[in-house]
Symmetry: C2
Subunit: 543 residues, 2 copies
């Protein structure tokens, strides 16, 4: 069930065969240039793989033989395609490197184990031979953890888990499943759907990421969604196996492994809690007069325990830009004009922002929840916009669009930050202002600037997450420097406002210090205990 890697882009997102619909849309590029204060957006194509030469592999023959003896020779692969595909993750910074043809970080080889025992054997051997091991699932990592520091290592081998994708058992009585960690999102949900069950988790990277990756890269939300569906897991470390299944009576390691980015070990199997597939799932859209009003409504809805299973609020700029984008090239019909008139009549002429609420269950549940939800929303003068389509296709499209933008000298950086409600507005304003300023400052020409979009996700009674998207004219030739400045400014602003930034290349190192010396020394002690030779993902956040 594992994806055919030859059909995936080595230097971008998703399927090679997927057509870039935006490339030919001159109206889009003209409009976007205007939005960014640029006269035009030039083509900035990536270097093709054929033009690039990889550094020679440093994996010594005896080590190759020893690794091959563990997994079988055909499971140790060293082709250019394999090494290029595994060279980096999929952060903006990663894409800049890959598109520029910089494969300095490519591993010497890729090893595909087919079971926990093999992973344990590989790690033990790697520790003895000083071979760095980079855990790799779908490879959509955003934290630079995939790129190894080579300095002190004999060689670097990527351990790819995607051939460990068996569904070991589905417990229909307990609604749980025991699954190998290398399974891709669609394969997992496909197998569960056949039993009437679902994880109910679909991030933007869902199609091209794995179960183990969801756990290893998780965390960040005050109550992480992983905690909701993760029952237990097996962690293979250079010093042995940890199975959290029996250790839930206190002093449990789960929260420590979630988000540990492969620094303590490799998640090889997980037992997850499932939900019945909902009978129906309806999305409804609402408009609020402005972002502070939308935020207040969102908070009230969660604190009063109203039932939408999904709630998302776009800020005014995201509402405007997405609206404008959708209208591009379409004739403005009577309905649009009517809608505008109607909004005007309700005083929403200013900077309206859009909320999407998802209701799940049978018809009576949906009706009841929606009535309660709308009773609260109407206190904040919400305007109904009717049923919305599932946003999964658009969400999955996001990373593809980033590639299209990169082709036309436009950059995209994403930042996520959680905060308690009392700090959320401040974190929003501080981060927005910092991004506006740094995008202007690092723009390639006077007067050019970025677009900063934000949506609010994972609203709980006490906190929510702000997901920022910064779209900006690339400083071609100084791309990495520009990205560094943007990341530093965003990170500083998220923290100073009192937020907790999520994983990103900007946060990996400085977050260590943000956690306070106490937590950092605990991590180091644990790393020293589980990976005393430091062969796991060297260069990652905790090494």
């Amino acid at each position: 069930m594992s994806q055919d890697r030859s059909k995936l882009r080595w230097n971008g997102w998703g399927w090679v065969a997927r057509k870039d619909e935006l490339a030919q849309r001159d109206d889009v590029w003209t409009w976007l240039a205007g939005e960014l204060g640029m006269p035009a957006l030039l083509a900035t194509p990536a270097r093709p793989l054929e033009e690039i030469s990889l550094p020679p592999s440093t994996l010594a023959l005896p080590h190759r033989q020893e690794l091959g003896a563990i997994v079988g020779a055909s499971q140790l692969r060293e082709t250019i395609a394999e090494r290029a595909f595994h060279a980096r993750g999929r952060s903006y910074r990663d894409l800049l490197h890959l598109r520029a043809g910089d494969l300095a970080e490519a591993p010497d080889a890729v090893i595909y184990p087919r079971g926990t025992e093999e992973v344990l054997a590989i790690l033990a051997l790697a520790a003895e031979r000083r071979i760095a091991i980079i855990p790799f699932g779908g490879g959509t990592s955003l934290t630079d953890g995939v790129a190894a520091i080579r300095d002190e290592y004999e060689s670097v081998v990527t351990l790819d888990l995607t051939e460990m994708d068996r569904i070991i058992a589905i417990d229909l009585t307990s609604h749980t499943a025991e699954i190998e960690a290398g399974i891709y999102g669609p394969a997992l949900e496909g197998a569960l759907k056949a039993k009437g069950l679902t994880v109910g988790h679909a991030s933007r990277s869902f199609e091209f990421s794995t179960l183990g990756g969801w756990i290893a890269a998780g965390g960040g939300d005050p109550i992480g969604p992983q905690q909701d569906w993760l029952s237990s897991m097996k962690l293979a470390t250079p010093t042995g196996l940890i199975d959290t299944a029996q250790g839930r009576t206190g002093a449990d390691l789960t929260s420590l492994i979630i988000g540990s980015e492969g620094q303590f070990g490799i998640i090889t199997e997980a037992t997850i809690a499932l939900k019945p597939l909902p009978q129906t799932c309806h999305l409804h859209a609402y408009l609020f007069a402005d972002f502070p009003t939308g935020l207040a409504a969102l908070r009230a809805i969660r604190q009063e325990g109203c039932g939408p299973t999904m709630l998302r609020l776009c800020d005014s700029e995201e509402t405007r830009v997405l609206g404008a984008f959708q209208l591009l090239g379409k004739k403005r019909g009577m309905m649009d004009r009517l809608g505008e008139h109607f909004r005007g009549a309700q005083g929403l002429t200013g900077k309206p922002c859009r909320m999407i609420a998802g209701f799940e269950g049978d018809a009576s549940v949906i009706a009841f929840q929606r009535r309660r939800f709308e009773a609260v929303a109407s206190r904040y003068h919400a305007m109904r916009q009717g049923r919305a389509d599932s946003d999964a296709p658009r969400r999955f499209q996001g990373p593809y669009i980033r590639d299209s933008l990169l082709e036309r000298a436009v950059g995209v950086e994403n930042f996520e930050v959680s905060a308690h409600w009392s700090k959320l507005q401040t974190v929003y304003e501080t981060t927005h202002a910092a991004l506006d300023a740094v995008l202007r400052e690092t723009a390639p020409r006077e007067g050019a600037h970025g677009i900063v979009l934000c949506r609010v996700r994972h609203a709980t009674p006490s906190s929510a997450t702000l997901a920022f998207t910064a779209i900006f004219p690339r400083a071609v030739g100084a791309d990495l420097e520009q990205a560094g400045k943007i990341e530093a400014a965003a990170f500083q602003a998220m923290l100073s406002g009192g937020g907790t930034p999520h994983h990103s290349p900007a946060t990996a190192a400085p977050l260590l210090h943000n956690n306070g010396e106490g937590a950092v020394t605990v991590w180091r002690a644990l790393k020293q205990h589980l990976d005393p030779k430091g062969v796991l993902a060297p260069g990652g956040a905790i090494s």
Copy 2:
């Protein structure tokens, strides 16, 4: 707001002044003797404190002065009353020791810090002087963690947190509060109630336990309730302070500290998530034909996402015994006979079991949730029994009754075990059978036996917790031996059925091995890092 310790029982539960209503109820003792297969239940009074001599304090004068210099001389207390109150926790085994006048485990002194900085200073000094430090909140611990191993230590000092009970801040926007860990349950809920908020947590020990204790003794349920309301905490360790507030972006220490029983450090402050006080809370009672049917209904209700905020199912024996107890001394009226007739008519003549469902919110929410709940319950032929009173008073009464029973040669042991639904019935049967056998085997006379009650709590879509109460005729003179056999049998049975036993003196040590070598070595490494001199609660689970 801290409790006046002179008004609390040093060798039993709760307030000294509380009258033992059961003591004079001859009808109860006659009935209970019959239930236990005993001819009569003799008085077995506890030894009064005046008769008992404590071992002399080994706290050296210079150490006393150094500790006093940190907290002020009046905060270091060495009276007999203080030392006796802090000698042990409140497990059955603890009560046997205390009632027998065995105060060998009493600390040399009790220190009452008034802030995190003082706790850090005490721990640093203790590590230097090799003084064992026993963290102590309300003292209702069930795990023997309060009783220190003295062997290698200069002296043993209990660190009592109950004078650290300030509400530092309540964030009304985020529904969170920052609170010192030594606050008692009623003081905490009282302060929150004034703001229209609640933690919504009330265990049986609620009145006499503290916030820090709820966290330190937590864990056990597959998704522990602590995870629902605990936002972050400060942990003072001999090597410094850990604040989890900023460390939620992955590799978070929270789950490791929950249930760690003071082995890694002392929880001094916590930020907790709150709920609005519900407008109304209704309890409704239902009867099912037998326990397997009740279990099936409970599982369906949780898996279909019906809304009761509280759900509890008594097994047939608990239903019968509680019912019989309530009817003692009451004239059986027409309503009772009618009820019996009605149950008979519906085929519930066998071994019916009772479910209590709690519904919270406004009237419309309660009505909707109850309708959905009853639609599922009726598929399992539930019989409505009407509104039930809040069971909080009865729940809080439980530990007092244990004291009354101990006075009449009757012992009580509690065991909790979680399991996935597919294993729950087996865990129930295995544990029940093991308890029945061991109670018979350890009974003081031929033909005597115990009563084993069980209720199901914390039902989630994937798992639930079985809470067993074993009531048995004490083997007076060999009480500890009897308790040891009962605990060993229960523990073995809970594990062999595939369950995860919760904290208890029986589980503390063997659970270490149940967690697998991997987790155990991680705990040891962490303990070594945070408490290198091993002064925190020596004798506890991880030392």
